[in-house]
């Protein structure tokens, strides 16, 4: 039993070596292209808790990030049939899920009305790394990438206007904050060649960065409601993207 599993491992390793050596003899499909799609925040960043605190400030890890759009450019040079190095530069934006946030402030201050206005999260990424391509059927390849680099992210600017008893009791603000941090992206997908020069790529990726934002607030005169002065939760997302690429070198 044990010798059989050892034999299997050896066979897999030999197979991999064979693919690599074979791959070194040829060059794979280097490309440059654009990509765009949907980015789905995960974890605490995507949470949108109703936070009410009538006496004292409340800190909550909810990020209130909605699904967003993502787009960018990427390219890779394949130094062998299957492996290449390249980079992805992209930009993503996410609207803020302000309804539960706003309802929490209304309840915290026990007022007639709260009007909450917010911008969104913005993330710029530059992620170099390794690319993999394995032709599986005619023009179709399975692709994968493992990228690591930097991410520049910014949080929404949020303003809350409080009205009660016919009076406008003023507006308080959570200021926009930005930070650059390490980021990584792991993904897999399918690539379909169209003609000699083009390919259509469908990819799914997991992206993660963890900027430790320091957040400024203004006009928080009384201790009540949600107040965050830092946000150190991971900004992680599953990205589903469709792209078109110009293929060369094969």
């Amino acid at each position: 039993m044990r010798s059989r599993s050892k034999r299997n491992i050896v066979l897999v390793l030999l197979g991999s070596l064979c693919i690599s050596l074979n791959g070194l003899a040829q060059k794979g499909p280097s490309f440059i292209g654009i990509t765009g799609g949907l980015s789905i925040p995960t974890g605490n960043w995507a949470k949108a808790n109703f936070v009410s605190s009538v006496s004292g400030f409340a800190d909550d890890p909810s990020g209130y990030a909605k699904k967003g759009g993502i787009g960018g450019v990427e390219g890779a040079y394949f130094f062998s049939k299957h492996f290449g190095i390249g980079a992805l530069a992209n930009y993503a934006t996410y609207k803020t899920n302000i309804k539960p946030l706003s309802d929490g402030y209304q309840d915290s201050f026990d007022v007639d009305q709260v009007t909450t206005t917010a911008s969104g999260y913005k993330i710029w990424n530059f992620l170099p790394g390794f690319y993999f391509d394995l032709p599986v059927w005619k023009r179709l390849s399975v692709t994968a990438r493992a990228l690591a680099g930097i991410s520049h992210a910014s949080t929404p600017a949020i303003s809350v206007d409080v009205e009660d008893g016919g009076n406008d009791d003023g507006t308080f603000e959570q200021k926009e904050a930005s930070k650059t941090a390490f980021a990584f992206d792991l993904g897999a997908g399918l690539s379909y060649r169209i003609g000699r020069c083009f390919a259509v790529n469908l990819k799914a990726d997991y992206f993660n960065t963890k900027p430790d934002f320091t957040i400024e607030n203004s006009q928080r005169l009384n201790s009540a409601g949600r107040l965050i002065t830092s946000y150190d939760q991971p900004l992680s997302a599953v990205n589903v993207s469709l792209g078109v690429a110009y293929v060369f070198g094969k």
């Binding site: 450019v73 609207k95 009791d169």
Partner: protein, 223 residues
């Protein structure tokens, strides 16, 4: 044969810029309004529970009551009378009840105000009062002249001063007014106006910010 020049990289660059503009354009500011849910309590009854600090048997309750939600009928002030001894100090507690919403059950609203102490502030104004006695600061409970206090140049004055004794959890702490000390002087009569200000994210110790949750009057007799 005519050559067709096709520059895919240029098209890709143009598409990339276009897609970034579209993505950024989708990220405009959003706004939402959160109104208060229905069913807030009614502040129908305000009690001043007082006790002489030097003589606990000298105690009383003054009750102001408005059970008519339409406020067409005048409030019941038959029990809104504070009887104090001259030259004494009284510990006073303000109790607010809702005798309307859940009648015949009586709900105390005081714990809720205490919960929300960081944006509630009571004011007390004895009248008649000399202008010089209406000292306005973040630690005095008096109501500015522009907010309805009538001063008298000649008197006779109601010889009563009020000091709040409880603090909220703001930083720095501000007074609340659910617990107070009334200090009397010589025998006199007049009225005491009690106002509760709701100052959401605006409480700073002064009367001005916010709105009025209740505004009631008591007759005061100092013997």
């Amino acid at each position: 044969m005519q050559k067709i020049f096709f520059a895919p990289r240029k098209y890709l660059a143009a598409l990339a810029i276009l897609s970034l503009l579209v993505i950024n354009g989708c990220n405009k500011k959003e706004s939402t309004v959160s109104p208060a849910p229905p069913g807030n309590e009614t502040l129908s009854t305000v009690e001043l529970v007082y006790q002489n600090a030097a003589n606990p048997s000298d105690a009383g309750v003054a009750i102001w009551r408005q059970l008519d939600l339409t406020e067409v009928k005048p409030p019941d002030t038959s029990l809104a009378k504070v009887n104090l001894k001259a030259n004494a100090t009284y510990h006073v507690q303000v109790i607010i009840l809702d005798e309307v919403s859940d009648a015949p059950k009586v709900d105390s609203v005081t714990p809720e105000i205490l919960d929300r102490e960081n944006y509630h502030l009571f004011f007390f104004q004895p009248e008649p009062v000399a202008a010089s006695s209406v000292v306005i600061s973040i630690t005095t409970p008096y109501i500015p002249v522009e907010d309805g206090t009538v001063t008298s140049a000649t008197g006779p004055y109601l010889n009563l001063s009020v000091a709040r004794t409880d603090l909220d959890t703001n930083n720095p702490p501000l007074q609340i007014g659910l617990q107070d000390n009334f200090t009397t002087g010589a025998a006199s009569t007049g009225s005491l106006r009690v106002v509760l200000r709701h100052q959401p994210n605006a409480k700073n110790g002064t009367y001005a910010p916010g709105s009025t949750d209740l505004d009631v009057n008591y007759q005061v007799s100092i013997q």
